[in-house]
Symmetry: C2
Subunit: 396 residues, 2 copies
């Protein structure tokens, strides 16, 4: 890489952080599944042998599923507008995150995944570009695209393509949150239907978590954005926030998030910022606090533990880590194994139950979700999702 090599005599300013060593040269490679050692190998892998395979697929397109890699490749697509907590950092800076995601698809689900970062943030152009390249892939994982654009992009691609499309910041998070809440409810001896939940954050994750919790039967949910609880009196609502108003807050909370949290059973933090002790102490006894802002949870976990029965965060150095890696590898693997044309609401609910069930009899307040490294999870999720897809008859 001579054109850009640093002065070899200069000290490397990245030497002290092992994260940079792990990223040197990138984190992925594409390799042939069989090596090419002879003219005979070349004549089978490439011309003239490949022409017989291409001809067979041209005559019978379903054979592409068997004789090409595409059905088992997920595109991890981002425009770099909402990357981790870093915001709109653009495609090049988003790449390490997408490469990391691709590593996890490989490690946990045995799927190939290709980062696709985009030079445009225009919704129409993104939809057109992804639709144009879709025949190359078996699934589309949308990632780190800012709200509310992410909703429209996902919806339009789902309508247009007959392969699984999922915006992971929405649905991956929602699946794992539901899995964790199922088990947390068991820990405190409650039913989902009886819980009063406050969701802090009405972005991609907040919307999807609210939706899946409603589908799972949670009785009472209030959603707050930075201006307070979403309610019928608000006149500053995007279409998706209007949908939230229509679907939640039957109790009619109209004040701040802190007001709504008084006497609530569950706090679900998806927003960043900081929630003071006086607010958490006002929740109902035996409460549940999921504080998922990274790297600094909205609620100090030690403080939360003095009031709540179950505390979960997004941090890898604390128990009960709510991490999307519990969901997306198995969800895509299951959908792909079943030949599903889309990822349905039932498939997401099945995934959440499968994740919760891996915990099984080991359930404890500090173990409501499996470890992100637990290799049983992706298999269990894939099986549950594939079974659901076959029952629903959405297989191709």
């Amino acid at each position: 890489m001579g054109g850009n090599q640093a002065d070899p005599a200069a000290p490397d300013r990245f030497a002290d952080d092992p994260a940079f060593a792990v990223h040197e040269g990138g984190k992925l490679s594409v390799r042939p599944t069989r090596s090419i050692e002879s003219i005979a190998d070349l004549a089978l892998t490439y011309t003239p042998g490949v022409a017989r395979v291409s001809s067979a697929i041209a005559a019978e397109p379903a054979l592409a599923r068997r004789f090409t890699w595409a059905p088992r490749v997920v595109a991890v697509v981002s425009d770099g507008t909402a990357v981790l907590g870093l915001g709109d950092i653009g495609p090049a800076a988003a790449l390490p995150v997408m490469e990391g995601k691709a590593c996890l698809f490989s490690e946990f689900a045995g799927l190939s995944a290709v980062p696709v970062v985009l030079s445009t943030t225009d919704v129409d152009e993104i939809v057109e570009a992804v639709a144009a390249i879709a025949p190359s892939f078996g699934g589309i994982n949308l990632e780190d695209i800012s709200a509310p654009r992410c909703f429209e992009i996902e919806e339009r691609l789902r309508e247009r393509l007959n392969i699984p499309v999922m915006h992971d910041d929405q649905h991956g998070t929602a699946i794992v949150v539901l899995a964790a809440l199922r088990n947390a409810a068991k820990v405190v001896g409650r039913e989902l239907a009886d819980l009063r939940v406050v969701v802090s954050g009405a972005g991609a994750a907040g919307v999807a978590c609210t939706k899946i919790l409603l589908e799972a039967g949670v009785g009472d949910i209030a959603v707050a954005d930075s201006k307070g609880v979403l309610h019928v009196g608000r006149d500053d609502l995007t279409p998706v926030k209007q949908w939230l108003v229509d679907s939640t807050n039957e109790a009619g909370h109209a004040g701040t998030m802190a007001d709504a949290l008084r006497g609530a059973d569950v706090y679900l933090g998806l927003s960043g910022g900081s929630v003071p002790e006086a607010v958490i102490s006002g929740m109902a006894p035996n409460g549940i606090v999921f504080s998922l802002a990274n790297p600094i949870p909205e609620v100090d976990p030690d403080m939360a533990a003095r009031y709540a029965a179950v505390v979960a965060t997004g941090r890898s150095d604390l128990p009960n880590q709510i991490n999307n890696v519990l969901a997306f590898p198995g969800v895509f693997r299951g959908a792909i194994d079943a030949g599903a044309a889309s990822i349905t609401e039932e498939m997401k609910l099945a995934a959440a139950t499968a994740i919760a069930d891996v915990v099984g009899d080991d359930l404890r307040p500090d173990y409501v979700v499996p470890s992100p490294l637990d290799r049983r999870v992706a298999t269990a999720v894939a099986e549950a999702v594939a079974a659901c897809a076959r029952e629903e008859g959405v297989t191709v």
Copy 2:
């Protein structure tokens, strides 16, 4: 892959052809360069460690070259309109060819390559889609796109992107043909400038071969399409054929390809069809026949050998195989190593000379180009192309 599994009791109709066994499940996989075994690995490869790398790239975009995989990944892009000799078979059927190409990038140049097949054949849509995904890649290999669309697509993408873009059916072929002709001229003791060449075929390969032969100093070239030699009297010419008329055929041939071949030194067949013995026997003594149609050369090689001093084909089971794999892996590797923003004419000429030079003192009539498996070639080409790029100062 339950949704599409064949009846296990049925005999497999593909069992007799080893090409299908080689393609079972596809020919590529994407894998992490480092495995993820611990929470610490996860925290460096993915969150929170990856955020530090993304932040660094956001602040200093040139760091993407060091800390992401993109600069060393080539997209192999096709709309499936001109696949091998099969024609317009569509994206799914084109995939095995693109996967094969990606295998060769890996095997011969150590580059990752990702097949990108497109659901559109519209020039504008292709240009927009490739431009949109370009930040994901370090180079774009256009492949098997029909003429004349391929010329406009390549030209517009070259203008728009600051990474190497090359339509291999044009320039890969041209580079190897020039390499072979350099050595064939040596075998017969002639200078390129003194040769009279007839090119049969005015598609992607014919145009690019003619262009590079002119640049290399070949004195007299006549180009024929299916209607005969291109000349000033023709009124049915596309813009690129008009360019050929303006640039070639100083002798003013106006008849058939066979007419022009009378007394010519070189036949370059890029068209298919069949050339009879009476035509080949009318070429000048000590002639050169490159008959590259696959799998059946335009000129029977045994017959050609009775008249010509050097015979080359595209076939792997005959000597002097003119195969693009001698060019594209090294060309992209060299351009990428040097950080070149494009692949220039000088870089292609340098690649051709490097390929010819690998033959060296072993030059014989039946050994004017190296074997496609000769591992020295890609290294030599990459070094020559990178050196040329650095001299030209096109490095990023």
